[in-house]
Amino acid sequence: MRAFRLLPLLALTGLVLLAAPASAAAAAPAPAAAAQDSGDAKIIDFDYAPRHLTVEAGTTVTWSNTGQRPHTATDRGGTFDTKPIAPGASAKVTLSTPGTYFYFCRINPAKMNGVLTVEPGADDARTARVQAVDEGFTGDKLRFDPAKLSVTAGTTLLVANVGGKPHTLTADDGSFDTGIVEPGAEGGRFAGKNASVTLNQAGTFKFHCEIHPAAMKGVVTVTGEAAAGGPAQASAGPREVDVGAVDFGFEPNDASVAAGGKVRVTNKGKAPHTFTLDDVALDSGTIDPGSSADLTAPDAPGSYSYRCTIHPAKMRGVLVVLGRDTEDPNAKAAAPPPAAAASGGGGGGTSAGVTAFVLATAVVAAFLGGIGLSAFALRRRAAT
């Protein structure tokens, strides 16, 4: 009985003892966990299990959402995005570029962060990923990841900005330069951009970030000679994409196209519209109903938000410009299986039940607590 009386005190003591290490563990963006070779990962509310997954290049990673809310697995460097995965559903992404991928849930970017390590497979990938890391939203240090790498001539370096600041990857001798790779919006809260350079000349090249030259340095060793025919194809993405402007939205509002590809915008509505990129000087001008406009996509791979300047509140979208071996988020996202959709429908009933329960308990709490608080207040008033 005495032990029972002490239960709250014991529990409080346990809480205090556990709070410090637990908080530290929770604050870490992606603690190193046991790496796995499997391409399967679970999403739970609000975490990835495992948080650190290691696979071979060419592996298809499947994220299964076992939680109660929709989540995404989104590359902080902007090369893949599963789009929201409904509870019970899953999404697959095939990763062909070796390197480290910081990924996160763009619905819960503060809570859900994971690390995916793609190791070179049996085949020569001819693409390698380098992450530009800063404190951004993961609290990391300024650095390139990896800072030292060895590739064969003709390999393309995909430079992904996974931080909250702009970066470049520039050869000390000026032989290659990505230009500025923009970070994700809101200081890295959202996915950043990426850029690529192809290394054809053998040798050892030191590189740095033009914006953070003291902290961000690295070296790449290029071996062999470039394959005949020069660098591989610029992009696996479609050379042309059609976007419809309707009253009032874009169809689709998340299109993908190869770098430098053609974007044809057709106004299928009754009101005039425009197709205007937010951050790049690319604007269709006013497109009258029934008319079309052709635009040339930017050369730099990345995600570009666009809008209709006449109806900016309603008409927005994202154009993904695909670089070489850049995963196409619009093509790779797996549709939820019918079973998942069915369970989602069942979840609606559960959701309504939960809502009713929590609201009912809140009303009860307010009622009971209100009686007590009122009684104390009235007694105090009577006493004075």
Partner: protein
């Protein structure tokens, strides 16, 4: 084994749902605590039971409430906790910490400083209101976001 994964497995993949339900139960228990306290302080005649029975029920219900609060609080610290952003999470963390600060004050008044007993109604009322704030910054968000 990862603790978050363990908790998730224990709750059948519905850790968040269980936390929401328990938080609501804790809130209701906190309301009952205030009402019972008002009864055994003879500030109220509701519920119509003796002050002794109200006191005993208050203690039992208090132990249950604190135990549940510790369980939920631990799962918050170990599991979904993260950076103090957005503001809702920051406020939730502040109120969550405040609950245990108030509980510490209450136990101090009960066990170590009997003279502080006159502050117990204030501390208890503060606890109830803090539980209300926690409920508002977590359960309300969960329900409205679904």
């Amino acid at each position: 084994m990862d603790i978050v994964e363990l908790l998730n497995d224990l709750t059948g993949g519905q850790l968040l749902l269980w936390k929401v339900l328990l938080t609501s139960v804790i809130f209701a228990c906190a309301g009952l605590q205030v009402m019972l306290a008002a009864r055994f302080y003879e500030a109220s005649t509701v519920p119509p039971i003796s002050t002794g029975a109200a006191s005993r029920t208050h203690r039992l219900n208090g132990k249950l409430t604190v135990t549940l609060a510790v369980v939920v609080g631990l799962s918050c610290l170990i599991g979904p906790a993260g950076p103090t952003s957005p503001t809702r999470v920051l406020l939730h963390s502040v109120f969550g910490s405040l609950v245990f600060a108030l509980l510490a004050a209450k136990y101090t008044a009960l066990k170590l400083r009997p003279a502080w007993g006159r502050y117990l109604p204030w501390i208890g009322s503060g606890l109830f209101l803090t539980f209300a704030a926690i409920w508002a910054t977590t359960v309300a968000d969960y329900v409205t976001a679904r």
